[in-house]
Symmetry: C2
Subunit: 431 residues, 2 copies
């Protein structure tokens, strides 16, 4: 038990700070569980002051330049917590693999953009590559997919993968306040970035979802194959109507595989209040899988933050120390196979639509005529008398229909004189 496993860490931001804290605080635990000392030997960050702030021992070598650190270090593993799909993160990743160093990252953007290439390169180099922290922070979902559920064909994987969106949607429901107001509060509280588009436009969820889809279905990582819709268009009215109809609105990544192909998408959707995932609120993430042997599984945990993400990074460090190497995407890169992508237009499912219409007779008749012509069948309808300037919301849900038919109907309906605004459509998922 006297070996030392040396760790070089690039990036002393929030997550990097958490990793430092964990490594220093749990030395004894890690020694017992990894049968060797896990020792921080090198750190790199543009801001040297962080070294002191984090009480990093003086024996640890500091570099301003992460690339220089990776070039010079004799550590066993390089941890990349700089972030960004390209730039320095990608540079040090390639460099570490070239030097045959084990490599650990929390960088979902980099994996989403370069995962296929990195998988091949890491295999060729025979190097450990860990990215547990890249998806759903504290949830050991990469490990569960690659190892725990190894005996399964996964037919479905979906989840709440962005804590910021889940927090906003949760607070909107709890307070009845508007998207803009809740977002602005979330920014003040540090739950949303100053530029929130990466989160609220679904891009972060898409990065994670294309990684999960690849792991679950054995397909290449392909960010472009995903349709991505964020939550900006969700109004407090939609949240309230969802409640009334027995639903909750969640931003989900949804992946399905069938004989016909694979569909991977990110969109806010209405799920039954009785679904387990409907109760995953606030900053929590959840991933649900359907395996042919294991059946239905759910994993819930904190999706981000200093400490949960550090926990995931350290589980990768431990795997590296224990030499538990696996192909990045679960199978050797030559076994990864493309499957036809099913367009979202082919989705067969239920829909919720909120129309803003003139408060006058005949409106429902006009709208339902078009729906009927397109073979979209109405499942429920809510119409209230309270008119504002002669304009009222009209809520409909549709029985399972093809998305292309629904969209074509909505385009026609939007042109009606009695329809005052673009209809707001939200998919319903019976999870």
């Amino acid at each position: 038990m006297s070996n030392i496993f040396k760790v070089a860490l690039a990036g002393l931001g929030t997550v990097g700070g958490g990793v430092v804290k964990l490594l220093l605080q749990h030395q004894e635990i890690l020694l017992q569980r990894c049968f060797q000392k896990i020792e921080l030997t090198d750190v790199a960050d543009l801001n040297e002051a962080r070294v002191k702030q984090l009480n990093i021992p003086e024996s640890v070598r500091y570099y301003k330049d992460a690339a220089e650190m990776v070039e010079k270090t004799d550590a066993d593993v390089v941890i990349e917590l700089v972030g960004g799909a390209n730039g320095i993160a990608y540079e040090i990743c390639k460099k570490a693999l070239q030097r045959k160093k084990s490599f650990v990252t929390a960088n979902k953007a980099m994996i989403a953009h370069h995962g296929n290439e990195l998988a091949k390169f890491a295999e060729e180099q025979g190097v450990f590559f860990g990215y547990e922290a890249a998806v759903a922070g504290g949830i050991p979902i990469i490990k569960s997919l690659r190892e725990g559920l190894i005996g399964n064909n996964i037919s479905e994987i979906y989840g709440i993968l962005n804590g910021t969106c889940n927090y906003i949607l949760t607070v909107m429901r709890e307070t009845g306040r508007s998207f803009d107001k809740v977002l602005s509060d979330a920014q003040k509280l540090g739950y949303a970035e100053a530029d929130p588009s990466f989160d609220i436009d679904g891009i972060d969820t898409a990065h994670k979802m294309c990684i999960l889809g690849s792991l679950a279905f054995g397909i290449p990582i392909d960010l472009n194959a995903l349709n991505v819709q964020g939550i900006r268009f969700i109004t407090d009215a939609d949240i309230a109507f969802a409640e009334e109809l027995g639903f909750r609105i969640k931003l989900l990544g949804v992946g399905r595989r069938s004989q016909a192909g694979v569909s991977l998408n990110v969109y806010p959707c209405m799920i039954p209040q009785t679904a387990e995932i409907a109760h995953v609120d606030g900053v929590f993430n959840a991933v649900i899988t359907e395996g042919d042997f294991v059946g239905h599984s759910m994993f819930v945990g904190r999706g981000a933050g200093e400490c949960p993400t550090a926990s995931a990074v350290v589980s990768d460090i431990a795997d590296a120390a224990l030499n538990r190497r696996l192909p990045l995407l679960g199978v050797p890169h030559q076994c990864i196979k493309s499957i036809p992508v099913i367009p979202l237009a082919d989705r067969e499912g239920e829909y919720y639509v909120r129309f803003q219409v003139q408060d006058k007779p005949g409106v429902v008749a006009e709208i339902s005529k078009i729906l009927g012509d397109k073979e979209v069948s109405i499942a429920s309808m809510i119409q209230r008398g309270q008119s504002e300037n002669g304009s009222v919301p009209l809520i409909m849900t549709f029985h399972s229909s093809k998305e292309s038919a629904v969209c074509s109907a909505l385009t026609e309906i939007e042109r009606l004189e009695c329809v005052l605004d673009k209809p707001c459509m939200i998919r319903i998922e019976r999870l």
Copy 2:
């Protein structure tokens, strides 16, 4: 990719059948994911007919005597799916380890009774020992605790670990029927054994809980340290009152570690309907952990059954094939340390009590006098006028109190003339 990893399987019952099915059906998947062929080479079962029923290829050697198989086989791993804490299961386990074969089992009773000794022996022999299937079937909780959460101190672990009990409690709530009726139906449907005591008296949950407690807290497996209460005493009235009070009744294993020591117990308890775990119904299991870095995590999946358990067994086979050996309890056996056990009498928590009392004035006064004397404070009370033969239920919940005080009060209250039956006490857990 041309290596062969040979599997010898003892026990072709429900789970054994599932493992055979998975190994035969997913040969291609397992070859890609384990980089070697996982091949069933030997099977043992008292009933030879099962070999045919399961379409086991003729090339597979059949043994009537599992011990003989383990003695003779040249397989790389021995899978024990015979069951039972002792007898043949224990015998072939020891024999396999002696022969330095990797060993995989779904046998929680054997681990609960002999885990410490087997941990030591497996380490001494330098042999892989997998038991993912022993706890919570399809949930990869052993892997998550030993690997995914490796960087955490776990302060709390609890869960729904017995599908039979969860099914019975779920159906009682959904139908309002009595325990006896629901149990008898569950037996007809195959969800409960002819002799159900192992499940409904909490023994099965206790086996699993002492394993989880050991893994989470680094303590020896000690079945005797657990207080175990089953669900036989839960009435349809309690289920209904729980609903009314905003609770659900679940049989939980509950483990906590604090400065003072560790508590590990199994009892039915009332949990808020808003708790995530309250929505884990039917035959599903759930495990919840609190780690100092990762925070709150929840894992949900099928707890038993042919296929989910087979999925867990096969994940162990894959780990064995990939030579991913870990100490049975996460740390080397010499690092396992006893911690003082906190008696259940010291529990500080809330309580629900149902008294059956005479329908006459002064009863509440008499009861509350005793509670007050013992410093047990009433949080809520339900009393209805509907008397049956002059007897009515009186429901009380208590603010956080010490269990010894509650028990002492209940013993005194039971002696009151106005109290017609033994009070029914159910712990409340704010999860």
